[in-house]
Structures are given as structure tokens and as C-alpha cells.
Assembly symmetry: C2
Homo-oligomer: 261 residues x 2
């Protein structure tokens, strides 16, 4: 039974998140159904990160085992055909070693969070970004983020439902960029870490935006982190701005595979 890994993109607006649920349509179920049409059995697919309701992915990674020795390109095309008209697409496919595991082999995850500032309602980015009406203080948010870099106990920025064994995580990078488009100003938060706690990105972005609105000082982020108390956390940023951007493996199972080929 060969094992396959895939890079998957999805628009989370239509789904109750990654994980299979009884009454709602999940990304996992939709992909499993598309794969089942190929070999009859329902495969079990594993994802690098279980995204919540409304959260998007630009580069989710999954793995699963099949009976037939598919060519990865044929498999990708067949699954994409079966996925229509969903809002999910397979971008890359590769046959991997039996010991490759989408979740446990990952060495780093990159999340992206989009905030758009404008007075008018969002049109093209509705459901795809957090809409904020007044501009933010970029320097303050960047200063606040600096206190979260490195290895810390992130209890403050962790959901009450988080199942991780330890609240200690290492933040490799938090970068905040801003750009101006004709339709508004956009802030993009990029967060990189080997792994994240449940709702950690949205907790951090919500707190940093509170700094951007000047309802918190940048140094308060340090105090809040050190409190190790969920009650101290800023408001949770909404799911629609969050994207699982990239999952990194060493070696890269998709090395040399181009998306647009």
C-alpha cells in the first residue's frame, strides 16, 4: 500500500473546519469522499493541522495510503475532478515513504493572518480577512510581537479546549507587513513555529490588534504572556482572517514539484 502526501488549498467559509463532524460538511470528509470514489474504500487521511470552522488553507498537507500504485499527477487530477464543485483543490501530490506523517514529520508550520482596514464593507475579501474600521499602530504591534519570540509558556494564548501536553512552545518568527491597495490598507501577520497550541494564532493576533488600536501598550504583551492566564488574553481574532500557509518537512516531499505544471 503506497503512501501519498498532498498540498491542499481550501476556502474555509463553506466548511465546519478540517475535522469530520456528524451534521456538517468538513474539509476532511469532502476530501475522503473524493478519494473513496477512486478505490471504493474510505481512506483515513491525516492532516498536518486541524483548522477550525471558517479557517482557510493555502498549504495544508495531508497523507493517506492507497492500494493502487497511482502516479502522483494522475491521482492529483482524479481527486481534483472528484472534488468539484467544492472550494478545495489539491496543488501538489507526491508518493512518500511509509514513515512520512503529515502531522508528526512536520518541522515547522507557517500561519498567515489578514486584517483589512477600511470604512466600507468588504466585497472581494468578505469572509477572507478580519475587517477593521480604523487604522492600526504598526510599530506598536511589532514591538508587542517581539515579546512573544522564542520559547515561552503560552498558557495565556491557549484555548481552554487545547489538548497539547505542554503549553511551552517556541515562536521562530512573527512578522507584520502592511500594504496599501486601492480598496484599503492590509496588515499581514506571519507566524512561524514548529507547532502551535489550539487557537494560539488567533489569540496572539487578537491581542496584538488590541495594541494596534492602542487599547494596550506594547509592553503589556510581555505582562500578559508572563501571567500565564487565559483571562488576560485579548479578544480572539475571528477565524476568517486565518490561513494555514505552509508546512515544512525535512526533506521536503514536494521538492521539485511545481504547482502550475
Amino acid at each position: 500500500m503506497p503512501r501519498f502526501a498532498m498540498v491542499v488549498e481550501y476556502n474555509g467559509e463553506a466548511y465546519c473546519g478540517w475535522q469530520r463532524q456528524k451534521s456538517q460538511s468538513s474539509v476532511q470528509e469532502t476530501i475522503e469522499n473524493a478519494i473513496r470514489k477512486l478505490e471504493g474504500d474510505l481512506p483515513h487521511i491525516t492532516a498536518a493541522g486541524r483548522t477550525d470552522t471558517g479557517v482557510h488553507a493555502l498549504g495544508q498537507v495531508i497523507h493517506f495510503d492507497l492500494k493502487k500504485d497511482w502516479s502522483p499527477e494522475t491521482l492529483k487530477a482524479a481527486i481534483n475532478a472528484n472534488l468539484r464543485p467544492s472550494r478545495i483543490a489539491v496543488l501538489k501530490a507526491s508518493e512518500v515513504d511509509k514513515d512520512f506523517h503529515a502531522r508528526f514529520s512536520a518541522v515547522e508550520r507557517t500561519y498567515l493572518y489578514r486584517v483589512i482596514v477600511r470604512s466600507s464593507p468588504l466585497v472581494f475579501e468578505n469572509g477572507l480577512a478580519w475587517h477593521i474600521y480604523k487604522d492600526l499602530d504598526l510599530a506598536g504591534m511589532t514591538k508587542g510581537a517581539s515579546y512573544l519570540m522564542g520559547k515561552h509558556d503560552f498558557t495565556t494564548f491557549r484555548s481552554a479546549h487545547c489538548q497539547a501536553l505542554s503549553p511551552v512552545k517556541t515562536m521562530n518568527n512573527i512578522q507584520i507587513d502592511s500594504s496599501l491597495s486601492p480598496s484599503g490598507k492590509e496588515y499581514i501577520f506571519i507566524l512561524e513555529a514548529p507547532s502551535f497550541l489550539h487557537k494560539q494564532v488567533r489569540s496572539i493576533v487578537g491581542t496584538l490588534v488590541k495594541v494596534g488600536m492602542k487599547n494596550l501598550g506594547p509592553r503589556d504583551v510581555k505582562t500578559i504572556l508572563e501571567a500565564r492566564n487565559r483571562q488576560e488574553c485579548g479578544p480572539l481574532a475571528p477565524p476568517e482572517g486565518l490561513y494555514l500557509k505552509k508546512v515544512t518537512y525535512d526533506p521536503d516531499p514536494f521538492s521539485g514539484i511545481e504547482t502550475s505544471k
Copy 2:
């Protein structure tokens, strides 16, 4: 009765185009209904360009007369509130002179057309770009476009239903840019002219993409133009890639008004 002008953005996926229709929802009707809630009467609104079904706008311009002397900012906020949850937003509002006319005062229109090349289905740009599977020849398309610059009889690139008095139009500029994103390669066509014939942009883009696919040579564009024969035109590019990007006036009625304020 003061006259107001507005810059309007919309996602054309949900509408049968700009113009009011009996049985389907149009952009014009949706905006007129939002304005009617303010003063009771149904205003007549005029747009710079009547976009077709599925065509989007980043900078459509409209004008209409009201009874009350609204502050433009209040009017913009009230119309945006009444437009919810549509996929239409007012970006800028201004009070203008009685002789300002969204259509007849315009000195230039800019259209943008998006083509995305990738083998996987579109996820985030589904309905918002023309999806093509194989890469295009940019140099060939740019060379082909050069024959369309300036003043010509554009009969070949004109819909049979076009109501313009003359097929002679002046193309100020056609620019084609390409960019690479993690999810594919994008070509953006920018076309600028004082005014366009019905379906002229989609006819031109469809023909240039045929050059990009090497089903036509760049110089064939000149032959096709000079044939002044609709039958010679390449396939019509689909509506979902087309955006009315900007309408230019002299003087600019929106000068100094920022979108995100």
C-alpha cells in the same frame, strides 16, 4: 436637489450585471433599493459603464439626485448599511455639480482582466478570474496587443448587440503583466480608452489569449482588426475575469477623498 457621485465596488458573481432586469437581481436595482430607504422615492442612478452578468467593478462610478442636502460621508455610511449583506460597497462619495454625468463626463475608462494559469481548480479566485491550464506566451500577446493601440475601426471586437453609433475607438493603452504566486501564475491585462464598445475588452482578451496559446500569430491580430469582421474575432473571454477598474474625470470629483478614512 443636490447631485451625488460615488465610487462603487462589486463582486459581479451574484448579479445579472449592472442594468435592472425583470426577473433577476441587478447591481443597479440593489443600489437603488438601498438609496430608496433613505428618502422614500426610487432614485434613478446612472453608471459610467453598464457591466454584463458576472463582471466585477473595483471603481464603477454612479451619480444620482436626492432631495436632502446629505453630507457625503453620512450618505456613504447609510447606503453601505442598507446594502448589507450584498456584495456591493460604496468606497467614496462626493457632492458634485448639476452638470456632472457619470457616463458622459468620463474622459477615460480602465478595465482590468485577470487570467490565472494552473493545473488545479481555482479556490479563492473561482468566479474572479479566467482559469487556464497551460502557460501563455507573454511576448506574443504583448506584440499582438501593440497592433490594437491607437485609433481604429474595432468592428471585429464588437458585440453584435453593441449600440454605439460608431465602431471607431481609440485605445490609449494595453498593458499585460505577469506575476507568480504560490498558487499559480497570473496575467493581468490593463486596457485604457476614452470609451469601449460592447464586449470589446473580452473580445480583445479572448483573441490575445489565443495568441498566447500559439493558436494565432501576433501579426494575425493586425489582419483580424483590419478585416472589420466579427467572425474573425477569437473566442470571447469569460465575464468572471473582467473588472471595471477606474473611471477618470477632469476635474476628479473624488480628489482628496481617501477610501479608508
